[in-house]
Symmetry: C2
Subunit: 224 residues, 2 copies
């Protein structure tokens, strides 16, 4: 694969891999069959980002709200998340899984990754949101003891459950929907948001390259 040159790259990219169920239906498959086709695209993205020298990437796995879906779908996306993390566990990466581990919906196999684990040289940080909930994330501040009374921006970022995940520069969402759907609200505050109309299992590298081409033309102001 030939990777184009970019004059300015995001340090941290968030990926929202949406459209697995619609893709399955379009192929005459049951909805839950789509998730398994979402693992290879994620691995492809990891390889491209590693090659480009991106510092950090975050994948939206599943949310607390998603677990209310029919059990066959829930089991399928839980398994896909476990498989996706395991597929990276022998590659060069620093892995972190963030989500509500106090719930039976959190896959036990992923508990070892809830503190960042380094593989190889740890060239890229790779985060997975698994049984993640934006209210769980933000409320974490209130559950913590020893709050220092510092109300600053930095202090807030440090006090949320996902505080080991840095500010996001670019979010790429597959599947045509133009919404964040609860994806890391604090880290996404200043993120540029690019939508790919194709469904996630139809991932092609060119879709991502177009997002990066668009991104390099955006300004960065952070509200200033």
């Amino acid at each position: 694969m030939i990777i184009p040159n970019f004059k300015r790259l995001p340090k941290h990219i968030g990926f929202i891999p949406d459209g697995n169920r619609r893709w399955a239906q379009s192929k005459g498959l049951p909805k839950e069959a789509g998730y398994n086709y979402g693992i290879d695209p994620g691995f492809e993205l990891y390889k491209i980002c590693l090659e480009l020298g991106i510092n950090e990437i975050t994948f939206y796995g599943f949310t607390v709200d998603n677990t209310k879906r029919p059990p066959e779908q829930r089991k399928a996306f839980q398994k896909a998340c476990v498989d996706a993390v395991m597929k990276l566990a022998n590659r060069d990466a620093e892995l972190l899984v963030i989500g509500n581990t106090d719930s039976p919906m959190f896959p036990k196999e992923l508990l070892p990754f809830t503190k960042r684990v380094k593989f190889g040289q740890g060239l890229i940080k790779v985060n997975f949101l698994v049984n993640y909930g934006w209210h769980w994330d933000l409320n974490y501040t209130l559950r913590k003891k020893g709050f220092t009374g510092d109300w600053s921006h930095d202090s807030l970022i440090k006090s949320i459950a996902s505080s080991d995940i840095s500010r996001i520069d670019l979010i790429v969402r597959w599947g045509g929907r133009r919404r964040l759907s609860g994806f890391l609200p604090v880290q996404s505050i200043y993120a540029d948001f690019y939508v790919v109309d194709e469904l996630w299992p139809d991932f092609r590298p060119e879709q991502f390259f177009r997002a990066l081409e668009w991104y390099q033309e955006q300004d960065v102001t952070l509200g200033g």
Copy 2:
């Protein structure tokens, strides 16, 4: 003006009126001259939303971060916000101004509107974010006394500084940037995001109608 029919309308719409400075520069004016041309477009939007029967609209005025800009710009957008609120103060609306009033950057003229004020029949809620900061908004929870220990989604929404502003269905941003820039992170979690490439002072009703046409084709899942 002929307003089209829509089969499904958002209950609450957020407006990000960006591009005043770029517009001024394109006309050979100093950057700060652009804000004054942003008042009439906001009033037009108010009239259209009233006619359509929209329940609530929220305008992004200025943020705590914005006040770090050069003083002539800051004074210009502060004045534009005051003028915009005053222009609605005799119309049919329930007005609310949300922002950090503990700072000298908050215009004193708007203090009477920091609790919702009803004019006429109060047919539509109109919110203005003035000297707003997302960290100020979210941190408010921690400053409050009497926290009940309820960690739910509803409880979180009730505990932020902007708790009188409801969940947003559609966000329309003028000026081409595809980012939220700190706009009500909790209420925007499930909002559909539509970007108008034209700059805010170049507002035309058709731009908004296209956003509504697009919105009515979107599904509403709230993560389910």
